[in-house]
Symmetry: C2
Subunit: 426 residues, 2 copies
């Protein structure tokens, strides 16, 4: 396709989505929930079709030498399909995020002023190999009364087209416009450049994938982006702490799974606890093969731990998101120093304090400038499902609009409503 073909194709998708968005916004909840239930049914009956399409994608990927986690993410097996089907049914049961009216008060002029929650309009979703994101994004768009334009990875194109057909049929079943969920069928990379730069048709872009993708989207976008960059999460063990709790929570935060963005990458320990706490957690890490990169006080405290993989930390370690069995460890002399360290080196994703001191807990909550701040809990809880959002379209490491896990509410805006009885401005 030539560049002008791509522009024309994307513009046509955009115009159709913009038109569908108005109909979705005005649609009653019952129709949107009916579409979600129809989608679950359509996906179930399309099982064999979806399996065939996915097998073709997998074969093509294997031929190209794709392997490991990238290949695994492409697979849409019965379990993965069942998970997205259950997700659609759960979404149908959730409260409607649209139409809520809040804070109506009467002003001295006589008018009543409040706010009404409405859909954002059209969102563009750009993602990599996982085909189940097609259904997650489509179902969140339907529930929230938005339209969306989906651009999945080229290696999943056959699976995505097959899934998208189910979405279109489900929308038609419920009497909603099929164009409310569009798929970019061309795998040309220039399509992404156009999708992120048409503010007349697209209100927000949500990229999901590696850092390279997200940085490209942020750089080229001419509309707002809900973006998720690093998750360099910290757990700080305070001066006064329940040692058993600290060992259990830090172990979980670091080792329960190494790859998620909410895993703790850096441990900060008050000097008063270095002697008691560090050898105990050091033994846990040593037993699990976790490499410890510490400052001089950390290395001194851990020197007698059997089997510990100890490395002297360099400055670059404090900013690193390892996503691996490696942890950086630093000793600090005060809560002030801990907060300053986290705000300077962290990625403003999720940070926790473990403490029995109430004023310190409150200061940490207020002063650590992160999307999620926690007291006495594992950073691994930073997640839309764990927070009760029902579903998660992404995690934002920005402060503007939505912050942290983004659910249905992040796909809405609030407009002002004014109810009058003929008031005029004096």
């Amino acid at each position: 396709m030539t560049t002008s073909d791509i522009v024309a194709t994307l513009d046509a998708l955009g115009a159709a989505a913009r038109g569908a968005a108005a109909r979705m916004a005005a649609s009653p909840r019952a129709k949107r929930d009916a579409a979600l239930r129809a989608l679950a049914a359509r996906l179930r009956e399309a099982g064999p079709e979806l399996e065939t399409a996915n097998a073709q994608d997998l074969r093509a990927a294997a031929d190209k030498g794709l392997a490991g986690p990238l290949f695994d993410r492409l697979r849409l097996d019965a379990h993965a399909l069942d998970t997205v089907i259950q997700g659609c049914l759960q979404l149908a049961e959730m409260p409607d995020p649209i139409g809520e009216i809040t804070g109506v008060t009467q002003r001295p002029s006589g008018i009543r002023v409040g706010r009404m929650r409405v859909p954002l309009g059209v969102f563009g979703m750009i993602y990599e190999s996982r085909p189940n994101v097609t259904i997650e994004a489509a179902s969140l768009a339907i529930k929230s009364g938005n339209a969306c334009i989906l651009r999945g990875g080229s290696e999943a194109i056959r699976s995505n087209v097959a899934l998208w057909r189910c979405v279109q049929r489900a929308l038609a079943d419920a009497g909603l416009p099929e164009t409310a969920v569009q798929l970019v069928e061309t795998t040309d990379r220039a399509a992404v450049g156009r999708l992120v730069a048409m503010p007349e048709f697209v209100d927000v872009i949500i990229p999901r994938g590696g850092k390279g993708l997200i940085e490209r989207v942020a750089r080229e976008a001419r509309v707002p982006v809900i973006k998720h960059l690093d998750g360099n999460c910290h757990t700080y063990v305070d001066e006064r702490v329940d040692l058993e709790l600290a060992v259990r929570v830090v172990d979980n935060a670091k080792t329960q799974k190494y790859s998620p963005c909410n895993a703790t990458e850096s441990l900060v320990v008050h000097a008063a606890q270095a002697g008691a706490f560090l050898p105990r957690i050091g033994a846990v890490f040593a037993a699990k093969g976790v490499e410890m990169r510490g400052d001089t006080r950390v290395l001194a405290a851990l020197k007698d731990v059997a089997g510990a993989k100890l490395v002297a930390a360099t400055d670059s370690d404090w900013g690193e998101e390892y996503l691996a069995p490696i942890v950086s460890i630093r000793v600090v002399d005060s809560l002030d120093e801990a907060i300053a360290h986290i705000n300077r080196h962290g990625s403003h994703h999720t940070d926790a304090i473990l403490t029995t001191d109430h004023p310190n807990a409150m200061r940490f909550l207020r002063e650590v400038d992160s999307a999620s701040v926690m007291v006495n809990a594992s950073t691994r809880f930073a997640d839309g499902f764990e927070y009760g959002l029902g579903a998660e379209i992404g995690i934002s490491t920005d402060k503007f609009h939505a912050r942290g896990p983004v659910g249905l509410e992040g796909l809405t805006s609030q407009k002002w409503i004014v109810l009058g009885e003929g008031e005029i401005r004096e």
Copy 2:
């Protein structure tokens, strides 16, 4: 100044603001309110100094041939000064927007999850000639616990520097960092280019001024922008309406003042009311010298109105923000047509329906995609003070983050807080 000097200067301001923002965010409400009261006192005692500085700006502007509204906006007379002083005192009395904790619920895992309102961090304010914006922005920054970097118009530089000195003294009086409010002292235009493109130091840009300024900022910004473009506001007179109310409200919405962004620029009238309503409002407009640009049905209905300035509307009239004694008028055959017309040609700022029909009022509220939607009230009410925000940093015509009049809340974000008792993720 060379480009690299400007970059170095702005980077130094940015780094200082970033440091001050952390201290402002952690400061108690009492100190921020004390700074606002000190600012009011400092401005009062600096009266003669401010008068001298402003007189120099006015003289320089007159020498350059500045005249009319641009010249008037530059003037900081006793009344304008008193207004900003009162504004500071009122802000000190308002509730603290920071620290509010909402929606804490316990999840099945045992953790308690909620949200805490915190400052955005650092905002950059770019504005044109009005020096009182310096104090409005500084006082909103102080109240909301943010830091800010101000870039006013070059023609107001002496007034702005004098006002800024008062702000710095007031911050020092209250024991807050003077660097919480910075002023860009160079009038080089390249400074704006740098200010909008340093995400490491500035979290959001708020431009206030003409469309040219705002379009430039939106194009060059590498951080979010709270931007206000056109105000092409509509008032729709529905099929069933109280005629007295309709004449009074439409007259006020169009003619009470022609220059504000919330003045009605376009009148949409249901065909059933064309015969009764149009001649009455036409007579009002004719008496006030308002030119009427209508479609053929409008011109027919108004042909007998004495002294009416009638013009056949062209397509471009429907999208025009006149800010002048001109109104476009269109007759429609249904509410659907009215809503479609407004969503297509409006600027998503403020639109009103005048009706006695409840279902129509509710449909208009839901389906008109504007920052403010009104029933039976003048569009002139779309304003931070009228809405009870206490103060207004700007009006957003975007949907992302803040929409419509933006007060203190628009300068905050909500972070997630998690309160646990040692819970771990299974």
